[in-house]
């Protein structure tokens, strides 16, 4: 499912919403979550999961092409932990 398919599904479920409004709602949801992470905040959606920012330390690695040692600088990376309800629903075989 892509973002535009999600927009469609929302309109099917809520007949009062036009496409523009549905798009706006979806964009606000993901933009506000992205902005919170950008500020280093945690995002917690009950039943779905939580997003946090994890720090990765600088490390040495090798360029696989020429074997040269390169230093990969420290960086931050978004991390998602699936919530209990969703984890159980996904695993329900």
């Amino acid at each position: 499912m892509t973002k535009s398919e999600l927009v469609e599904k929302i309109m099917e479920a809520n007949s009062f919403l036009n496409r523009k409004e549905s798009e706006l709602v979806v964009n606000i949801i993901f933009d506000s979550m992205a902005n919170a992470l950008k500020d280093g905040d945690k995002v917690e959606i009950r039943g779905f999961g939580s997003f946090t920012v994890r720090e990765r330390e600088a490390r040495e690695a090798r360029n696989p092409k020429n074997g040269e040692v390169v230093t990969i600088p420290a960086k931050k990376t978004p991390f998602f932990k699936t919530g209990k309800e969703l984890r159980e629903r996904v695993n329900c075989l």
Binding site: N14, L17, I28, I45
Partner: protein
């Protein structure tokens, strides 16, 4: 940030009532959950992809007792952040 903060943003920016905004946020996450439950993936451009992966049986150990156990096959959800999201976090 929680769902309540997202509801507040929708209320401010779109002008729906708080009740409507809350119902919409709930609806969006419900649709996402039922999609993932069916093992379909969700691709949100500029944010990331949610993908359900199948894990086979594997051997593991209880770290407390050292006892060997079988970790049963299962489905897990993974999130792969988009390049855009990763870049914005490092700015």
């Amino acid at each position: 940030m929680t769902k309540a903060d997202i509801v507040e943003k929708i209320y401010e920016k779109v002008g729906f009532s708080k009740k409507e905004s809350a119902e919409l946020v709930e609806l969006v996450f419900d649709i996402m959950k039922s999609t993932l439950e069916k093992s379909d993936k969700i691709k949100i451009a500029g944010f990331g992809n949610f993908v359900v992966k199948e894990k086979a049986d594997r051997r593991g150990r209880n770290p407390q007792t050292g006892e060997e156990i079988t970790i049963t096959a299962r489905r897990i959800l993974t999130f792969k952040p988009s390049q855009v999201l990763k870049a914005s976090i490092n700015k």
